[in-house]
């Protein structure tokens, strides 16, 4: 089996327009959640979110590109540009033929659906722009990255709701580990903050109207975010031979299905994914210092996740840190695991554990060290990143410092 390392990272989300800016904001415990600015916001009962601010598509793309790029594709292309530039890789010949793009997204071009439904239903028009389908399809972002960088290997998009990014990065990891590819571009992207995208979530009544407070006894729901994070995964010997800067090693991955309920999480399903990732990586519980939690801020997720961690880690659960950065960037749904991997890399490279901000009251059902409100300096060698999706689909990654 080949070893897999990360040699490039890129991002755009409510915390910043680059991976570096995002990690700085995480280290400062900055909250990127605020009032939503979007059409018909006054008809929404949920009016906060982790929106990308100060982003003007025309600054990055020409008119023809914008005609084809939904916001989720724009985010993915910007993050990919940063990640691939950092990796220093260029793609031609055999490397181009092997390297693909595996991205996670839950909704794809939600803004495009929303705008064009308005056109035909609200405005009563009988004609839509010819690029609606290529713009909204879930694989558009992966395809545009492949075209931009000449990536001709295995490329596809994974849609497993809130686990999409972790499932996607897990596939990229396995493609390299098995020897099929020496490099993969992977991560996730989501742009669901539009009227229809939020209205749909309102229906479930799991959204907070004021803040995302994971693990806090007074938590009252999740807050949506948007954005993308993209990484370059590379076979270790290939990266070493060319002297690439290695950000972290991906050492394990596991996925499980609860097979029980379409929305309620299961402790057993989560625990099997966590212990599966450790087994895959050859890790013992004591080896893990930090877990980037799924930590949505809902009553159900947070207590179930803490119970699963307690089950898997036993007494070591009290020694490890577990934080949810969704408190800062919101829940990016299909893109969330990718942005959260930045917190994992921050911990491994810089020894800075991102906090759970907005934490106010201890909850006996979440009695773990959730790194409340302020980042912490700590030597971290091994981290896990949890993702537990609606539909009971769980995906956990394990990373190690290099």
């Amino acid at each position: 089996m080949k070893r897999v390392v990360i040699t490039g990272q890129g991002a755009i989300n409510a915390l910043g327009h680059s991976a570096t800016a995002t990690q700085r904001a995480m280290a400062e415990g900055k909250c990127g959640i605020g009032p939503l600015e979007l059409r018909d916001v006054e008809r929404l009962s949920i009016r906060i979110g982790g929106q990308v601010q100060g982003f003007v598509a025309e600054d990055h793309f020409n008119r023809q590109q914008i005609a084809l790029y939904d916001r989720f594709t724009q985010f993915a292309l910007l993050a990919a540009k940063e990640a691939i530039a950092q990796s220093g890789l260029t793609f031609s010949g055999d490397l181009s033929a092997e390297t693909g793009v595996v991205l996670g997204t839950a909704g794809g071009g939600v803004n495009t659906w929303d705008e064009n439904y308005r056109t035909v239903y609200e405005d009563g028009k009988n004609r839509v722009h010819p690029f609606v389908v290529p713009k909204l399809m879930n694989n558009a972002a992966a395809s545009h990255i492949s075209m931009e960088y000449n990536l001709k290997g295995p490329s596809f998009t994974v849609a497993t709701a809130c686990s999409s990014s972790n499932h996607a990065m897990g596939q990229a990891f396995q493609l390299i580990r098995s020897g099929m590819s020496r490099a993969m571009v992977t991560g996730g992207t989501e742009a669901m903050l539009c009227f229809g995208g939020i209205k749909a979530w309102e229906g479930l009544r799991v959204m907070s109207k004021d803040a995302c407070r994971p693990f806090s006894a007074n938590r009252n729901g999740m807050v949506q975010g948007e954005g993308a994070a993209i990484f370059v995964f590379e076979e270790y010997e290939h990266a070493k031979a060319r002297g690439a800067e290695i950000l972290a090693e991906v050492v394990g991955f596991a996925m499980t299905s609860d097979a029980s309920d379409i929305v309620m999480p299961s402790k057993q399903g989560a625990a099997r994914a966590i212990s599966g990732a450790m087994k895959d990586a050859g890790l013992n519980p004591e080896d893990v210092q930090y877990i980037n939690a799924h930590g949505t801020g809902t009553a159900a997720n947070d207590k179930t996740e803490c119970a699963a961690v307690a089950d898997v880690f036993g007494t070591h659960a009290d020694n490890l840190m577990i934080s949810s950065t969704k408190s800062m960037h919101g829940h990016l749904i299909g893109g969330t695991g990718a942005v959260e991997l930045l917190a994992c890399i921050l911990a491994l490279r810089e020894g800075v554990v991102a906090p759970t901000v907005g934490y106010q009251e201890a909850d006996p059902e979440c009695a773990l060290d959730v790194v409340p409100n302020e980042a912490r300096d700590a030597k971290v060698d091994v981290v896990l990143s949890n993702a537990f999706a609606f539909g009971g689909l769980n995906a956990v990654l394990a990373l190690r410092a290099m």
Binding site: Q64, A67, R127, H129, P130, F131
Partner: protein, 88 residues
Amino acid sequence: MSNEVQDKVIEIIAEQAVLDVSDVTPESSLDDLGIDSLGLVESIFAIEEAFDIQVPFNANDPSESDFDISSVAAIIKAVEGLVAEQKQ
């Protein structure tokens, strides 16, 4: 009317080809102007919007469509016909 249609069609095609209006002559073909299949369907959409007409164009087999796209002049003529027919 005729000049109005001609000017508008040329403006749409020029925008799609990222050219000046003066560089788009009636004799030009879409190939000459560098307009590919996606550019063509986008131009037809813009023509439909501008003139509030339905253009009978099938991208699966453009030659079978009842809409001549062999040159800019042919497109103008076809649009004039559709405007006359559909605005009655």
